[in-house]
Subunit: 203 residues, 2 copies
Amino acid sequence: MKLFFSPTSPYVRKVVVAARELGILDRLELVVTSASPVDSGAPIQGYNPLGKVPALLLDDGTVLFDSRVIAEYLDGQAGGAKLFPEGAARWPAIVLQALADGMLDAAILTRYEQVLRPAEKRWPEWVEGQMNKVVRGLDQLEQRWTGHLSGPLDIGCIAAGCALGYLDFRYPDLGWRAERPALASWYEGFAARPAMQATEPKG
Amino acid sequence: MKLFFSPTSPYVRKVVVAARELGILDRLELVVTSASPVDSGAPIQGYNPLGKVPALLLDDGTVLFDSRVIAEYLDGQAGGAKLFPEGAARWPAIVLQALADGMLDAAILTRYEQVLRPAEKRWPEWVEGQMNKVVRGLDQLEQRWTGHLSGPLDIGCIAAGCALGYLDFRYPDLGWRAERPALASWYEGFAARPAMQATEPKG
């Protein structure tokens, strides 16, 4: 299987951390790929019409995307019901993943606004609205999710860890730890896992 | 269960169509809710920190989001493995859902750019990049997915139908049918389903 990969994409990181935690990383060939919302013509578009990484090319030519689909597929390849539990434990795992992915969507839209878009076309209210989603998400992680995060590893925990890692990478001055001691404590331990250490973004 | 609802959101429509097709719509109380990416303070934020609809409030106070999680939960409430098949049929169903959702993400970002953002801050390259995702997605639907779409109903078919319905609603001049006869033919039949007729967006 070929995984179209970017070393700074937090959605790619989620998939690679999942593969490592599942013990099947050696079955993935990582293919470094660039993707940009304003670059029509990037090779990834031939595999994923949305022009985004990660995408997973199977040996039969099938392409799987997005990161949620790929992570669940890898879970199945590792025997199933590991990071995507069955029964009642499934819903908190995939709601937490949706929360973390949504925080990332907002943080990445903010970055496009602040880095990619020409300076004179930036809209402060847009940045404020998106970053408020991130802040409310952080508050909910602190208030409602630290118990879950400290339980069995699932895709929600991995997604939350990758979201926090992205905030540290791209928004080092956000200071999210200051008023969220339980979340900060959890992340300190989670970020030390070998799968997280091996995938830390550099850019 | 209370579903936070907007009559024009295609992600809400996907969930409501799924509930109707599963025969469990009568178990949902629809609560009309507004959501905007630049309105911090909207009541939905108290349920979903991402400030988006749909969100599903369960009787025990748990809140589920986003649309993919809710649709899968409703499938489970209806007995399971109906719109989210198990086994090999699962992957095309959820890849197609990811494709359709991704086309919607791009179409909605374009609409925010063209309607919500002040005129002098709009960036044509952004709109072009996002709408190219929509066009490539339409091309892939025509070229690779019409066989799947004509098979058993699954969440991918519903997501694709809601994405095409949104394009007709917000981009009536896009003319997507002209060079995509197989997709147009499928959608003509799909849009006539009672679940689609009952949820057609107006606004």
